[in-house]
Subunit: 331 residues, 2 copies
């Protein structure tokens, strides 16, 4: 039986929510990952020092061995606010207003945001971006934002900018044009396309933002995941209770925390590049962000894993189905 | 208050199902439409004379004043089968295998279907086609079928071919290249795009096959609906019980029978072409198919219509919302 051992896997884009939902999902991530980047789009958003530290405390209380790399929700911060936050955060996450779940408080004008970006560049605080133009057609929203990425990368050449959850071949190509751009990609964008959401029956559990794209986009993302030093794994695992998914008006987000590593092992194995998974799920992130996660070892093996129908009231992607790989042990 | 009177409106693409569902939905269509083309994709399909006549009887028993233009499900019919059916049908509907709901018995090889098409051409039986290539990416399936339409139109120049529920600018353009091609279009493809299905929250009630397309496709369809003599209204109204729509793995189909005329009046009014609606919902179909529907008069007015939350266990499109036009009277 094929096996694979991973050291300190990291999930560089993660939604833990708060309260009972956090208590449900944070341990499912911490069971496999040594650390991860925690998204700040709570209601209200994590956009001040008090809320930041309280949120980190809530996470630590739930998963003490997991390293939460905290982020602030982008707004018009002062220099002293940034200075106070810097030791406690990995970066600041920018959402265009209305782009995704809980982004109503997002940035309406990038022009006005530049003052804060200038300070972030000077203070070496990375910028994480949900790169979609919400005014465009749903399949074009990421493509419509790429010129903005290019503009920001040129205007702030020392600002480290992460294109979060990229979904297109064009975004992948942009990594090579600007030294200070890096990116994350989810597992569902590596293995699925819009066909899997809406090609047969409609699958609300695969409905996420940015929406899944075309086969040629998926191929480009897979090639970059296998090889590109600036593409990191970020699950964007986003739990919603079942009544917000199997309904009329279902929320965007795929819950993949417990299945991400098995799915990635299967994908990398299929491309005969199992050895490259360590870089994708940990080393590239360590190099790009300079983080040093807790030392853990995750052992995977190519034996079937039956995905539970539910975790609490959250339905995972591939609920009730059998995956080809499983997590055998965590040391 | 603006008003509009329509004579003998026709719905040239319609799903009545059978049994209790038929009893629920057929009267909702018959309340507004003088007649309509009944799709044959039941389980098992309507593909023999006995089932055809029994199905027509079931429809007549439910809606005696409504003219059901019957269709057969395409298969390898003999000449005598076609001759026996001809007086009772408007045409024969071809589904590529696996293209949509209940299409498992559809055509796997168009090559083998040509013998029947040859006979249909000789006997002047129109061919109605679900024009999608199910092996392609969901957004490309209609575009992928257009060369087949062109090939059939050239190979059988006397065969009247209806491109059912077209969704793209390219399909609209094809109408001008082949004299024997005509088409239907649904109301949802005239007023919505994929943005309305998946641009915000996911709306399963707008999920249909062929899937809603891009803004530029919608625009081309609207222009053709307003002006093109070969584009007819066909709602493709397709009821599913709520537990097949608000769930995991929701079925494709929008239930629009009771709201189609109000939505069309609003659309045509917005384009200052209310007068063109009569052609779109009746005259073009009469001219293209040579049908003479029962004489009815439907009066619409520009006053709000609250769409019911449900009709039985079927959720209509825009359930609970207010439309700008209503059907005021049917004479």
């Amino acid at each position: 039986m094929k096996t694979l051992s991973l050291t300190s896997p990291l999930d560089m884009h993660l939604h833990f929510r708060e309260g009972d939902m956090l208590k449900l999902v944070a341990p499912l991530t911490a069971a496999h990952f040594a650390g991860g980047v925690i998204m700040p789009n709570l209601v209200p958003p994590v956009d001040n020092q008090e809320r930041l530290l309280a949120y980190r405390e809530e996470i630590r209380a739930s998963v003490p061995d997991f390293e939460p790399y905290m982020t602030l929700f982008f707004r018009g911060y002062t220099e002293s606010e940034l200075a106070a936050a810097k030791p406690h955060i990995l970066g600041i996450k920018l959402y265009p207003q209305g782009a995704t779940t809980n982004s109503d408080a997002g940035v309406a004008s990038l022009k006005e945001a530049e003052r804060v970006m200038e300070m972030m560049q000077d203070m070496e605080i990375p910028l994480l971006v949900h790169g979609e133009d919400p005014d465009q057609f749903v399949m074009d929203r990421e493509a419509g934002f790429l010129p903005t990425y290019a503009e920001l990368a040129q205007k702030f050449p020392k600002l480290q900018i992460t294109m979060e959850h990229i979904t297109t071949a064009a975004a992948t190509a942009l990594l090579d044009h600007h030294e200070n751009l890096r990116a994350t990609v989810t597992v569902q964008h590596l293995i699925c396309t819009l066909d899997d959401v809406a090609g047969g029956l409609l699958n609300p559990h695969l409905f996420c933002k940015p929406i899944l794209k075309r086969p040629e986009d998926r191929e480009a993302l897979v090639n970059a995941a296998l090889n590109h030093p600036k593409l990191m794994f970020g699950s964007d695992s986003a739990p919603h209770p079942i009544d917000k998914k199997e309904c009329c008006g279902c929320a965007a987000g795929c819950f993949t925390a417990p299945i991400a590593l098995p799915l990635l092992a299967e994908l990398f194995d299929k491309h005969d590049q199992l050895d490259a998974l360590q870089a994708f799920v940990s080393e590239r992130a360590q190099a790009l962000y300079g983080v040093r996660p807790p030392a853990t070892e995750v052992q995977l093996e190519a034996s079937p894993f039956e995905v539970p129908a539910r975790y609490g009231d959250v339905v995972p992607l591939y609920a009730g189905q059998s995956l080809a790989w499983r997590v055998a042990a965590v040391l």
